[in-house]
């Protein structure tokens, strides 16, 4: 089951440049939350702070509190432990090119020492099924490399790979920006099903996409969270002028 996320006074830096300013947000469990805003506004930085991916960049640092369920992200939890509970799907599909489709999905478990063959088979099957990819790849699970699939299939493979670790939260950083409309449609459908079991935070440039998949939407501008509300409210009756300018296309 998914868990909620609470972020308090989050500031993020790249060296001396501040990328996020005092972000506060509460993400509801088992719902999809979309983050929108112009390029460079800090949306990606923000979700990379939720699974401590931000700090893998040299000289990057974070201040503030993040709670994921009962886990305190920046206080006493190791990054590897945390990331097993907070899965991530990246902007560009990034399957492991030298691994088979099966090994790609099993990678998270195998590399963390999970060795039970039979259970692994089951989890791989289930994850590929959840990612709506099973039927397309079931005949060459072991024979084909993850890199041999089409872009849309690769992205669903990456989703399956993230699901196999059985996370509670799924972070998606513009998962459809490199995909064609049909693949995008498939992934959006997937998000609809996945939020029954996972809490989803999705960064997107596509406002229609935010409106279609998410119950809640946050609008970022220049590193600040300008407005956070129900998606419907953000798109039909935003409280902030800047949000209105952005969603109506009068801006940027």
């Amino acid at each position: 089951m998914g868990v909620g996320i609470a972020v308090e006074h989050l500031n993020a830096f790249y060296g001396k440049t501040q990328a996020l300013f005092d972000v506060n947000i509460v993400v509801v469990a088992n719902h999809a939350t979309a983050l929108i805003g112009p390029s460079g506004c800090g949306k990606s930085t923000f979700i990379r702070c939720l699974n401590r991916m931000h700090e893998t960049i040299p000289e990057a640092r974070v201040e503030g509190k993040v709670h994921i369920g009962d886990l305190s992200v920046y206080n006493g939890t190791s990054a590897t432990q945390l990331r097993r509970r907070v899965g991530m799907v990246f902007q560009k599909p990034n399957p492991f090119p030298t691994m088979s489709i099966y090994d790609n999905v099993a990678a998270g478990l195998k590399l963390n020492g999970f060795r039970k063959r039979k259970q692994l088979d089951e989890i791989v099957h289930k994850s590929l099924h959840s990612a709506a990819l099973w039927d397309e790849v079931k005949d060459h699970l072991h024979k084909k490399s993850g890199a041999s699939l089409s872009g849309g299939q690769q992205q669903r493979l990456c989703i399956a790979r993230a699901l196999a670790v059985q996370p509670e939260v799924l972070l998606m950083d513009e998962p459809c920006s490199a995909l064609d409309p049909i693949s995008t449609g498939k992934i959006e459908e997937l998000i609809f099903q996945l939020k029954e079991q996972y809490t989803i935070v999705i960064v997107t440039h596509n406002m229609q996409q935010a409106a279609r998949v998410a119950e809640f939407t946050g609008f970022f501008l220049l590193g600040k969270m300008i407005e956070f509300d129900k998606t419907e409210k953000i798109f039909t009756n935003p409280s902030d002028k800047r949000t209105e300018d952005y969603v109506t296309g009068r801006f940027g």
Binding site: P97, L111, S145
Partner: protein, 272 residues
């Protein structure tokens, strides 16, 4: 303009390949006549006696190269991993500089180093000393190519592993190195082929031997040494054998590289 560029490319390829095939053809022409069962199974005969072969040198070369690879390959790859994954700083720059300098050190100097390190201490010439000398030559090449190949692995692949909760060391071993495997193997084979023909570093380490030797702490014959000895001798029979030895050496190197390539291709997945 396109035609000109294509023409220039083809021309350079021809210019590179002509000497290569010329050398190989000339070796076959000069050497094939002296290669027979005796050459491949017998030890050298004393001057004046006809026949004899280089069997001990063939085996000796293999032993020395095996020792060199066992020592040099892991060390080189390890250094490459350090440079790429942990060496984006001053320490890395120092190691990079030293390894580039080492690449330029004349091989005979490396022979002297191995002489000082191993021969002086053991008090005799040995296959081990020869292997150490060649290993020292392999390390910088392997380290630098490994570094380059690892740097080619996109950051996104590493992030994918981190995102699954895989620790950094495990990501380096199981994801980054594995993704770069084919490039690293190319670097290893390049270093191997380069040292396989080396003579100078073996002169006062492996030293050479006219007889069979199965101990790694005794003077050991090597093809390159045997070719050297025979080529500068005044005897026609030995000259012919030197040509044959050179041909065998080239065939062994090409065979080893091809075998590794085939093995790697066999283990690669469709579409990878």
């Amino acid at each position: 303009m396109d035609h000109v560029m294509t023409g220039v490319s083809v021309l350079t390829v021809v210019l590179v390949l002509v000497p290569l095939f010329a050398i190989f053809a000339y070796l076959v022409y000069k050497g094939i006549g002296s290669i027979n069962i005796d050459f491949l199974t017998q030890t050298p005969k004393p001057v004046g006696e006809p026949g004899g072969g280089m069997a001990n040198a063939i085996v000796g070369s293999m032993v020395i190269l095996a020792i060199a690879s066992v020592l040099g390959v892991p060390l080189g790859i390890g250094a490459g991993v350090f440079l790429s994954e942990y060496g984006r700083n001053r320490y890395g720059d120092i190691v990079r500089f030293i390894s580039d300098v080492m690449n330029g050190v004349p091989s005979i100097v490396i022979g002297i180093v191995a002489y000082g390190l191993v021969v002086m201490r053991q008090k005799h010439f040995s296959a081990l000393a020869g292997g150490v000398a060649l290993a020292i030559m392999m390390v910088p090449t392997i380290a630098r190519t490994t570094e380059q190949m690892l740097l080619l692995v996109p950051q996104a692949i590493r992030e994918a592993a981190y995102g699954l909760g895989v620790s950094r060391w495990r990501t380096t071993l199981s994801i980054t190195l594995r993704t770069a495997t084919s490039g690293i193997i190319t670097g290893v084979m390049l270093a191997f082929a380069r040292v396989a023909g080396e003579t100078a570093p073996l002169l006062f380490t492996a030293f050479g031997n006219q007889f069979w030797n199965w101990k790694s702490d005794q003077p050991t014959a090597a093809l390159s040494l045997q070719i050297f000895t025979y080529a500068i001798s005044p005897f026609d029979e030995w000259h012919r054998q030197a040509w044959a030895g050179a041909l065998v050496l080239i065939v062994l190197i090409v065979g080893a590289v091809a075998a590794v390539r085939i093995a790697v291709r066999h283990g690669t997945l469709a579409g990878a």
